[in-house]
């Protein structure tokens, strides 16, 4: 016999299924969909809800391939929540230590909570069949790109085209959990001192290899556990992002622009590196996100002039005084940070890359006019696609006679025509692109 469903268990799986379906079917970001569901579950269940949503989306292309294979006919559009529920259960069976009987039982129980008790048998049968037929399934799906790489085929194809030798390792890194990396605030202390503080707090950590300010934690923590976080001793920032501000090397008295600044990680870093910056103007198109920039800067004890504007529409916001340094961390596909934002695997479409590249080119051309002769512009993205990186920079440089591409010989990553591409590493940095341009 089987026992009646636990009345408490369904909430968590139901909430996870709804959040995942909101991403997979309605194209919401997980950042929007998850908080909406998290509020409904008990506080003690939220960490697991978070883990289930992120994990299921991280492996979603693979899980969806399994579901398609196991179902004689696909689920109806209105049953996207059931699809999400099954995917979530498969994730637990494949990638977690949740006992299989618990994962299956909870998924079956969640059917009723989703208002679809008729699906209990279907969900149960499918999951049990998966358990029985894992090995033959693995063989049958061996050549299926979605199954093998857990990436949408168009994206796997784009990676293989751009990085034929690195594509498999790149995708494996994308399927990993992201590490948590800190940036020590130089204005408030040294990395060595903060490593000692972490050790005293019992938090294992190690210095990063390339960023002189970086510390990578052995396991992610809540920021509230970090000594001196509220006092601005450290910020959370990946090592790859920490390399931007040092490349621009701002000097005292200079006028500096951070063109797409939210959430303000690099804005703060620029000011920590050179407190004597004459003026730092930080722009973002989203006024709400600018509020977070203000909070971050206040915590670090630094100041910038914040503007809500479209950075590329210089006529709207530029006062005509040129900048000595410009950081253009351009909006992009975020294909270098898929492990942090796995919902992107589902949300992004091949067409988006064309649109994004057009926006990036427009921003670069617009901002160039605000750069002083002799000034430096760092074009950076967290994309690993050439179309958004080298292609944008070289196309721009080709139209102008006042662009000098600066080589980055000591920078980590792969050398490209115009800059450096750092690909995400399994237990290390995010994927990031850098090109440093000087105006002649």
């Amino acid at each position: 016999m089987t026992d009646a469903p636990d009345p408490r268990a369904p909430d968590l799986r139901t909430a996870a299924a709804r959040a995942i379906a909101a991403v997979a079917q309605r194209g919401q970001s997980l950042g929007t969909a998850l908080p909406a569901q998290a509020s409904a579950v008990a506080a003690r269940d939220r960490p697991l809800l978070h883990e289930l949503c992120y994990g299921t989306l991280r492996w979603h292309p693979r899980l969806a391939a399994i579901i398609a294979r196991l179902m004689a006919k696909p689920l109806k559009e209105r049953d996207a929540d059931l699809h999400a529920l099954i995917a979530c259960a498969l994730y637990q069976l494949e990638h977690t230590r949740v006992p299989p009987h618990a994962a299956i039982h909870a998924a079956v129980a969640a059917c009723a909570a989703l208002g679809k008790p008729w699906a209990k048998g279907l969900v149960n049968a499918l999951l049990r069949r998966f358990q029985r037929e894992r090995a033959p399934l693995d063989i049958a799906l061996a050549t299926d790109t979605s199954y093998r790489t857990a990436h949408p085929p168009w994206l796997a194809e784009a990676f293989r085209h751009d990085w034929p030798e690195q594509a498999e390792a790149l995708m494996a890194a994308n399927n990993d959990r992201a590490p948590m990396t800190l940036r020590v605030n130089r204005a408030r202390g040294t990395r060595t001192a903060y490593l000692e503080q972490l050790a005293a707090a019992g938090i294992p950590a190690a210095p990063t290899a390339h960023s002189p300010d970086g510390i990578r934690l052995a396991t992610p923590r809540a920021v509230s556990e970090l000594p001196g976080f509220d006092a601005g001793l450290v910020s959370v920032q990946d090592e790859a992002a920490q390399l931007c501000a040092p490349l621009l090397a701002p000097r005292p008295g200079q006028r500096v622009l951070d063109a797409c600044c939210a959430p303000g990680g690099k804005t703060g870093h620029l000011l920590e590196l050179e407190p004597g910056i004459g003026e730092l103007v930080a722009i973002d198109s989203d006024a709400e996100r600018l509020q977070r920039v203000a909070e971050n800067l206040a915590r670090l004890g630094v100041h910038a002039r914040l503007l809500a504007a479209d950075a590329g529409a210089t006529a709207d916001w530029w006062d005509g005084a040129p900048f000595d340094r410009i950081l253009l961390d351009a909006p992009c596909s975020a294909t270098g940070v898929l492990r942090r934002h796995p919902d992107i695997k589902l949300l992004r479409r091949a067409d988006d890359i064309v649109t994004l590249a057009a926006t990036q080119a427009r921003l670069l051309a617009g901002l160039w006019e605000t750069l002083a002769p002799g000034g430096l512009l760092l074009y950076a993205t967290c994309s690993v696609l050439r179309a958004e990186n080298d292609a944008v920079v070289t196309a721009f440089a080709a139209t102008r006679s006042d662009v000098q591409i600066r080589p980055l010989p000591h920078h980590p990553g792969l050398a490209t025509t115009a800059g450096r591409q750092w690909l995400p590493a399994a237990t290390g940095n995010d994927g990031f692109y850098y090109a440093l341009l000087e105006r002649l």
Partner: protein, 168 residues
């Protein structure tokens, strides 16, 4: 140990009555071990030998939250102690995904042999009392759906048939 295939309603083999075990030997103990593994993997709280197509009077049960307190009942006999009854939402590994209220005697006593062939008597409480009755029904070729209205039983039969077809 091995995970055995669980027969699903309306498989006619579930209707065959099981015959008593005459000697508790290694063959029976191997069956017990396989049934326990099958029950834990399924997952279920109880399993009768006919559910895995062995027509012997053998039942395994574990109703603990920790899933580490297995009970083995060989040739179980149930004695009803009084008229009190209770309802419980029962499900069955042979009727996957369906849960229905079943009304059964509340206070019972069970005599059986353990896996070493030693006789024992217990007066099970709560879920354990429900489960042993559910499993002994299996040994007699009876399923919990037999307690439901013919209409409900037919609906379950249709839905399961559809699922068995869809995932076959």
């Amino acid at each position: 140990m091995a995970i055995l295939t669980i027969l699903e309603f309306p498989d006619p083999r579930l209707r065959k009555a099981a015959s008593p075990v005459t000697r508790v030997d290694d063959t029976v103990r191997r069956l017990v071990d396989d049934m326990l593994e099958t029950m834990y993997a399924a997952p279920g709280v109880g399993l009768a030998a006919n559910q895995v197509n062995v027509q012997r009077r053998v039942v395994v049960i574990d109703v603990s939250d920790t899933r580490n307190q297995p009970w083995v009942f060989i040739n179980p006999e149930i004695e009803i102690l009084d008229d009190s009854r209770r309802e419980y939402d029962e499900g069955c590994l042979s009727v996957p995904g369906f849960y229905e209220k079943v009304d059964r005697p509340e206070h019972i006593r069970v005599r059986a042999l353990d896996r070493d062939g030693q006789p024992f008597v217990i007066a099970p409480q709560d879920l354990m009392a429900v489960c042993i009755q559910h499993e002994v029904d299996h040994l007699n070729g009876k399923l919990f759906v037999d307690y439901l209205s013919p209409l409900k039983r037919q609906r379950i039969r249709m839905k399961l048939a559809k699922l068995q077809h869809a995932t076959a």
